[in-house]
């Protein structure tokens, strides 16, 4: 199923390949025509909540049947070749844990299901790896969200998979735990594992990897390095709210400003659309002083990740 490298969404040595993949639930399209591939190293799957990341990961693992398109994991269809699961680990987004088991017995259970020979040793190693040995013999039901996340990661690592799929693995973790988990994922990637991490937080992904696939509304919005995506974002128009005592005068002056595309008035509030938020922010006080108007507020209105990604999708 290997295809020539045609886009930043593809890698040269894929372990996971996705071709024209779509999934719909009734009338709702969750994933629409995605083609991409993943190889050794970390790939960040970035996008706002509801973008289709979890659906895509579930199709990659074989939990969901694609409505259209195909998935190959290590060359096989995961829905028909369960043997590949010996080399795949999944950390699902939801709390897929048995609250009546201890962290150790949960990891031992996971190891047994994967046919690991020394189950006890594998569980201890995995728990040590995620820093959970202190709580290894406590019931998972007593754990905080962050501890559960780390236990899930340990259970996914217990059979030393080649491919690790992590759906929002940093949810609920504190900054210290987050830093440790990120280090862990990076060390796995350095060791040649394929690590796919989904997140809706750009900063998190940025700390893990430079390779990102950005999704929104079930589509690939952007792919490639973070710097390339940031570059693609450079010309996004930002809408800014300006509270000013003389909106007409400032609005007219802003239209002559090179980085302002348009202005509009809503009552006494002035809105401006700019492609360079930082430059406008620096220029505004000087401009206001020069016009002798009183500027009391400057507020970007639409800079969420979701809106940025939506823009990228529209532009594709």
């Amino acid at each position: 199923m290997t295809t020539p490298l045609t886009s930043p969404a593809e890698v040269t040595d894929p372990t996971v390949e996705v071709r024209d993949l779509s999934k719909w639930f009734g009338q709702k399209v969750a994933v629409s025509g995605i083609s991409c591939s993943f190889g050794p190293g970390i790939t960040g799957l970035l996008g706002p909540n509801g973008a289709g990341k979890t659906t895509l990961l579930r199709m990659i693992t074989g939990l969901l049947t694609p409505s259209e398109g195909s998935v190959a994991v290590l060359g096989s269809n995961p829905r028909t070749a369960p043997k590949i699961y010996r080399r795949v680990g999944l950390v699902p987004e939801e709390d897929a844990v048995y609250t009546y088991l201890t962290a150790r017995s949960f990891c031992e259970y996971s190891a047994s299901l994967n046919g690991v020979s020394d189950v006890a040793r594998a569980a201890t190693d995995a728990l040590e790896y995620v820093g959970m040995m202190d709580a290894a013999d406590r019931l998972i039901g007593e754990f905080s969200k962050g501890m559960r996340q780390r236990t899930k990661v340990a259970a996914a690592l217990v059979h030393e998979p080649d491919i690790l799929i992590l759906d929002e693995p940093l949810n609920g973790t504190d900054p210290l735990q987050r830093a440790k988990l990120i280090d862990l994922f990076r060390s796995l990637a350095r060791a040649g594992h394929t690590v796919i991490v989904s997140s809706h937080v750009l900063g998190e992904v940025e700390r893990m990897t430079d390779r990102v696939l950005a999704m929104v509304d079930g589509k690939l919005a952007a792919a490639g390095s973070i710097s390339a995506i940031r570059g693609a974002m450079a010309d996004i128009p930002y809408r800014v709210r300006l509270d000013v005592d003389s909106p007409n005068r400032l609005g007219a002056a802003l239209l002559e400003h090179g980085h302002v595309r348009s202005v509009s008035l809503e009552g006494d509030v002035l809105h401006a659309e700019t492609t360079d938020l930082a430059t406008l922010g620096r220029a505004l006080p000087r401009l206001a002083r020069g016009l002798d108007v009183r500027l009391t507020g400057f507020q970007p209105e639409d800079e969420s990740l979701e809106s940025v990604f939506r823009y990228l999708v529209r532009r594709r």
């Binding site: 074989g62 939990l63 369960p82 043997k83 590949i84 795949v88 699902p92 897929a96 048995y98």
Partner: protein, 248 residues
């Protein structure tokens, strides 16, 4: 094999945990109370007959289906509702091994609960002078019927959240209603399978008890074979569902 044993052990732990086991044990010992209270003033032979009029049927018609419904539907249903199904299915093992291990766990727990109640029931019968001859045939009946019901209810619990409601409707409308009134349907009734074995194994039963079988013929081997086939079929059916359906 290790994986199957691990699923079986975890399944036992899952199904035994919680208060439901105590409630079901209480239900399972209810026929023993009836045996004791009803039979204490009877002669030995009357106590034996009385046992086969009420307490036996309480066990067969109510206790076994209800216990199996609660336990069997929880086996995969709780995995689905608790989002742990992905933990089970993303493994290098065949789905039929998962469903077989789950069925075995549900059967073990159900059998254990009903058998415990049955043993208390036989003690009550013995105290009433009715003897203990139904002990082993009864355990055989329980083994067969719990396996059959668990096979059906493990699948049902995986398919729907309304398994208990649908299961109760099945037991009381189909098993105890239609399959009883229409003789041609009686071979499709689960409890009559184990009952056919029991009737074949116990001597001196009141002759009217044969009427409940409808067109089913008494026989232990036939009941055993039918149970094995149906349990295997349902295990495969549930495995097929696990393969075909999305794990959401």
């Amino acid at each position: 094999m290790t994986a199957v044993a691990a699923i079986y052990r975890a399944g036992l732990r899952q199904l035994i945990s919680g208060k439901r086991v105590w409630g079901l044990l209480a239900l399972a010992t209810l026929p023993a109370v009836v045996t004791y209270l009803g039979g204490r003033n009877f002669t030995a032979s009357r106590a034996f007959d009385f046992f086969h009029e009420a307490p036996l049927f309480m066990t067969v018609i109510i206790v076994i289906p209800v216990v199996c419904l609660i336990i069997g539907s929880a086996a995969l249903g709780e995995e689905r509702r608790g989002n742990t199904l992905s933990f089970l299915v993303l493994r290098p093992i065949r789905r039929v091994m998962i469903t077989a291990a789950k069925l075995a766990a549900a059967w073990s727990v159900s059998f254990g609960i009903v058998a415990a109640g049955w043993i208390v029931n036989i003690v009550a019968l013995a105290i009433s002078g009715g003897g203990a001859s139904p002990l082993v045939p009864g355990l055989f009946l329980i083994a067969l019927n719990t396996l059959l019901y668990c096979g059906v209810f493990v699948a049902l619990g995986y398919i729907t959240d309304r398994a208990v409601f649908i299961g109760l409707a099945y037991v009381f409308v189909w098993e105890n209603g239609l399959a009883g009134f229409i003789e041609a349907l009686s071979p499709l009734s689960i409890w009559r399978v184990g009952m056919s074995a029991y009737i074949a194994m116990v001597d001196g039963l009141p002759s009217e008890i044969l009427d409940v079988l409808g067109s089913v013929q008494p026989g232990a081997f036939g009941a055993f074979a039918k149970t094995a086939v149906v349990a295997a079929l349902f295990s495969s059916f549930t495995a097929g569902l696990l393969r075909a359906r999305d794990v959401t």
